[in-house]
């Protein structure tokens, strides 16, 4: 957008304003301290910690089974994938090989989670830039996925369906049918998203060329997920470090090179199509077999360090566990995607207007508990 200021005799002065912690565009309790000159942003400084629960410290107190439940409360829109990350770390440390059935079901659920998360993002993204209708469309489709989750594990948001050693129990008999029904439904609805918002002239003017992030900066800032891929940076963990059943499906990594807000938007739309494709490849061929591998009631990891990365809806989640061989971890670190993605907000927002900041922030898709942990 054109950000030149009309020269006048008035002396402009820099001043601070607070955006948040209770601002609709921050999607949670995030406070941004904006230094602005007129309407031009000079500096954005995030103020964090409003909902910090010190999950990493709590993990040091808990057993490995209990840690899984805490990860739901980080990025609650990717709770299934967060659970999977911890379970994979523990399973790798114990050198447990999961049955194929577990791998495939986990992958299907992860992709459903990704679609649900992107539906919600798409809804609120539209709302952030002034299109209220998208909110209802996004939530309508997400609701169907939540119903599948509810039938599968009893929860709609904080799943707790993965346990170290597999799944808590087998999927509901309706799971395959309902997932297929959803895919058939969603394939007719996803083009509506494009009709409704993507091609909209006002929307494109709000997003094209706004909040540009170059590939070098994306890597340097540790951007991951759709934010990194929109800058032409191939960073899909599912491609580079495949886990669960991602090595047996074919899908394209959604990559754009523009690096602006519109590119980040397009990457997420493309990712929903890829997720549909992954689910379609797996849903008819869920292998028979057990859904659990026997583990000791008290899990003790061998002394050492373990790292596992997974691709959540927001990007790369890393779980770093240091074990001294006892029943509690010595240190747990969650490398959350939102934390690194937030750190580049100042970089892409400076020089733009407050409205551009809202649009840029919407495509970073921040979930505050993921940052505050």
């Amino acid at each position: 957008m054109d950000t030149t200021i009309v020269k006048s005799n008035f002396k402009s002065e820099e001043y601070f304003i607070n955006m948040g912690p209770q601002h609709p565009a921050t999607h949670g309790v995030l406070r941004l301290l904006l230094t602005i000159d007129g309407e031009i942003i000079k500096k954005v400084e995030p103020d964090l910690g409003y909902i910090h629960r010190s999950i990493e410290k709590m993990c040091e107190r808990d057993s490995y089974q209990q840690i899984v439940h805490l990860t739901d409360r980080m990025d609650y829109l990717s709770s299934h994938i967060n659970n999977e990350a911890v379970c994979l770390t523990v399973e790798n440390a114990l050198q447990l090989e999961m049955p194929d059935r577990v791998k495939v079901i986990r992958t299907i659920l992860s992709e459903l989670t990704r679609i649900a998360s992107h539906c919600l993002w798409w809804g609120v993204m539209g709302m952030d830039v002034g299109a209220l209708t998208t909110y209802f469309y996004g939530f309508r489709d997400r609701e169907m996925i939540n119903d599948i989750f509810e039938e599968t594990c009893g929860a709609r948001l904080t799943m707790n369906y993965n346990i170290p050693g597999g799944l808590m129990f087998d999927v509901h008999p309706n799971f395959v049918k309902r997932t297929k029904d959803f895919i058939a439904h969603f394939k007719t609805k996803l083009p509506e998203y494009d009709t409704l918002l993507t091609g909209n002239v006002i929307f494109q003017k709000r997003t094209k060329g706004v909040g540009i992030l170059t590939k070098e900066d994306a890597i340097s800032f540790g951007a991951s997920g759709p934010v990194g891929r929109a800058s032409g940076y191939s960073c899909d963990v599912r491609k580079h470090h495949p886990y669960s059943a991602y090595d047996r499906v074919t899908f394209n990594e959604a990559i754009k090179t523009e690096g602006d807000t519109f590119a980040r938007y397009q990457v997420r739309i493309q990712e929903m199509w890829e997720s549909i494709s992954i689910i379609e490849q797996l849903i008819d061929n869920i292998p028979d077999g057990d859904v659990q591998v026997a583990t000791n009631a008290v899990i003790k990891l061998p002394k050492g360090e373990y790292y596992q990365k997974v691709e959540t809806a927001r990007g790369e989640l890393g779980v770093y566990i240091i074990s001294t061989g006892t029943k509690n971890p010595y240190r747990v670190k969650f490398r959350s995607p939102g934390f690194s993605n937030l750190s580049l907000l100042n970089h892409i927002a400076v020089g733009g207007k407050i409205g551009d900041l809202v649009a840029s922030m919407a495509t970073l898709d921040l979930v505050i508990p993921d940052i505050d942990r």
Binding site: K57, I219, H240, K333, R335, F339, L344
Partner: protein, 153 residues
């Protein structure tokens, strides 16, 4: 590059580096605090290693030592290395900042400062990130005690 080739190359840059592969899936390098910045710069700019992606930076309290663990990946070569730095000075632990090499380190180092009290030289904005300025102590240290908020087992 394989871990062995990496080890041979990196050990030729700086003497007295300690390498370890046991108890971890990656190659671990333990570096003295005074050599940290030199090693990190070389890891980033050398075209054979080009570790341009700092994907995790964690503070760790090893008791009695405090330290920082850097997980590095190269987006060109796709190899991974872990760098560790430790100090036994619990009163005033200081390392060189790597903000100038990887921009993501700015936030991560503030987090480490917040929870471990580890200071970083040449950091542009080293202050608490999550906790309030008047907070006493560093909660992720093992000897941190809070009678009200902590459930001790």
């Amino acid at each position: 590059m394989t871990n062995e080739a990496l080890q041979n190359l990196i050990s030729s840059w700086i003497p007295d580096l300690e390498f370890a592969e046991e108890e971890s899936q990656f190659l671990n390098i333990i570096v003295a605090p005074e050599n940290l910045h030199q090693l990190m710069t070389e890891l980033k700019i050398n075209s054979k290693t080009s570790f341009d992606y700092l994907f995790c930076l964690s503070g760790v309290d090893w008791q009695p030592e405090l330290g920082v663990v850097y997980h590095l990946e190269s987006t060109a070569h796709r190899h991974i290395v872990v760098v560790k730095v430790k100090t036994s000075d619990r009163e005033n632990p200081v390392f060189d900042s790597v903000c100038d090499i990887w921009k993501t380190a700015e936030f991560h180092e503030r987090e480490v400062f917040d929870f471990f009290g580890i200071k970083f030289n040449n950091h542009p904005n080293l202050k608490r990130l999550f906790l309030t300025e008047e907070w006493e102590g560093f909660p992720l240290r093992k000897d941190y005690e809070d009678d009200i908020n902590m459930v001790i087992k």
